[in-house]
Amino acid sequence: MSDTIAPSARRRKHGGTAKPPKAPKAASLWSDAWHDLRHRPLFIGSAVLIAAILVIAAFPGLFTSVDPLNAASCDLAKARQPMSGAHFFGTDNLGCDVYARTLYGARNSIVVGLSTTIVTAVVGGLVGLVAGFKGGAVDTLFSRITEIFFAIPSILGALLILAVFRTGNVWTVTLALAVLAWPMTFRIMRAAVITAKSQDYVVAARALGASAPRIMFRHILPNAVAPVIVVSTINLGTFIAAEAGLSFLGVGLRSPDISWGLMISDARERFLEAPAPLLFPALFLSLTVLAFIMLGDAVRDALDPKLR
């Protein structure tokens, strides 16, 4: 995540200097934010944690020789063993290695979190951009539609949508979460666009004869995207938690897929006598969510000092 901020900040800086009146201020927001971020312990801590999680998610095989996707790696005779040199986190009810399963579970969490964030940011952001810019009937229509989505409790709504699919995998979970989450991005983008729309540089661009798409994407979008980035980063953590919750309820990922929520659900029956198979995925889940929420906090403080 830390790398994605830097290049975009620089790109915006160059794009921004070409604009007449407000440009220097808009450009300095991004470079200021990056400069500010690099010196925040909160940002450095979360970036290190996220980097570690991403490495585990991408190459879990680097850290364990056990392949939990292979059913032969489990030995029912060795169920619920305590922590040992052979099994760092012990074994679960089916005799599978909890350490290996926890590491392999990272990928699905990250994939659901990232893809849901991207879908909601792109869909909510684009619809919000168009609705805020066009105003009138388009705006009214989409605003009413989002009101309906806001009134539906999200975890129950996701549960319903997933029940329609019957199969649960990372893509159906992504879809279910994104359907219910895009209205939030929509509202934030729309509000930011409406504020940006009346600025002098937009009036100037219009006076110079810029087309509507050009005004939207070159002038308004770079100046309205900051709050969306902040909310998306924080939401990434909550999407990961939501995936675990849905998998725990039995409508998210299903076995043989590995998911922290599913591991918690499986370990639940014997939890009081053998807590390790539940506590370790729970710890990794909490750390991952913490990392993204910390990052979101740091990015928000850097981008909008007023919100602190």
């Binding site: 539609i145 009101e147 709504g157 549960l159 889940l285 913490l290």
Partner: protein
């Protein structure tokens, strides 16, 4: 005031219609045949199937079914389950559990959240403030799923073996005490948000001119903070709490599952699997109504908290 309430209620109608239509359509799209599921493994007499299908309007097109449902609902009739029980009867007991849970959570949230936020705001920049801020960050990050099981293990089991039996860990057999632990678990993330919100809101109010005036008049600190600052800082907090009631009720399903509470979350879960449209839509409709009404009450409370706010 009266006209404002009526206008708000009228504005809520499209939201209610849209939400029920959406949920009805999703349940309509669920795979499987509810009547076949009713019979289980046995083959049903085709005549009985035909009668049942007719009785539940299952042969009509989607929009006609929805119309039947809607007209019934406005007359207070939420329909019957496929087992013949009126949905309102079924929901009443389940909602009681979830309301108890959500209200316990809301009270814990208000007391702990505002208390901690107040303490932090009055000690801004000191170690206590930093400690509270850091712990809110951690509390926000730990999913309900994790707090639920960890607290169940620590408070329910470890403490009990140590001889201190404070919190029942499952079921609803011990009255309001049964709801304490699940209520806290459900409120967890909200407590953290409310603490932060209280701290920010109060810190801002404490900088206002009228606070300086109150201090300059020589009012005791307790009165300055309680009467002048807290009351004015309360508006965003009330908004948050009001909006949170609906969130807590709708988000209770995981907590209900962990603590074995027979609430609406669990009911919805099993009804989705049985494809009981009337129950699923009924539950969601009531939740949408709670959301709309809670927001309305919050808006009306503004005028009580801040006399400068007038409606119309």
């Amino acid at each position: 005031m009266g006209r404002y309430i009526i206008r708000r209620l009228i504005q809520a109608i499209p939201v209610l219609l849209g939400a029920t239509l959406l949920i009805y359509a999703i349940v309509f799209a669920l795979p499987g045949d509810p009547i076949a599921a009713l019979a289980g493994e046995k083959r049903m007499d085709p005549n009985i199937v035909a009668i049942l299908r007719d009785q539940y309007h299952l042969n009509d097109p989607f929009i006609v079914q929805y119309w039947y449902y809607l007209t019934g609902m406005f007359g207070g009739d939420f329909g019957k389950t496929f087992a013949g029980v009126p949905v309102t009867d079924l929901m009443a007991g389940k909602f009681q559990v979830t309301i108890n849970l959500a209200v316990t959570a809301l009270v814990l949230e208000a007391v702990i959240g505002i208390g901690l936020g107040l303490y932090a705001a009055l000690r801004r920049g000191r170690p206590a403030d930093s400690l509270i801020l850091a712990s809110t960050l951690v509390l926000i990050s730990i999913p309900t799923l994790v707090t639920g099981f960890v607290l169940q293990l620590l408070l329910g089991v470890k403490l009990k073996t140590a001889g201190i039996d404070l919190f029942p860990i499952a079921g609803v057999t011990e009255g309001w005490r049964s709801y304490l632990l699940p209520g806290f678990v459900l409120a967890g993330v909200s407590i953290a948000y409310l603490t932060r919100l209280t701290r920010t809101s109060l810190a801002e109010t404490l900088r206002a001119d009228y606070i300086r005036t109150a201090v300059a008049k020589g009012l005791p600190r307790r009165r300055v903070v309680g009467r002048h600052a807290l009351r004015n800082a309360l508006i965003p907090l009330v908004t948050f709490l009001g909006a949170d009631l609906g969130t807590l009720m709708g988000g209770a399903v995981i907590t209900e599952t962990i603590f074995n509470l027979p609430g609406i979350g669990q009911q919805l879960f099993s009804s989705v699997h049985l494809r009981e449209q009337s129950v699923v839509v009924g539950i969601v409709t009531v939740l949408v109504l709670v959301y709309i009404l809670a927001n309305l009450v919050v808006d009306l409370l503004y005028a009580v908290l801040d006399p400068r706010i007038r409606y119309e």
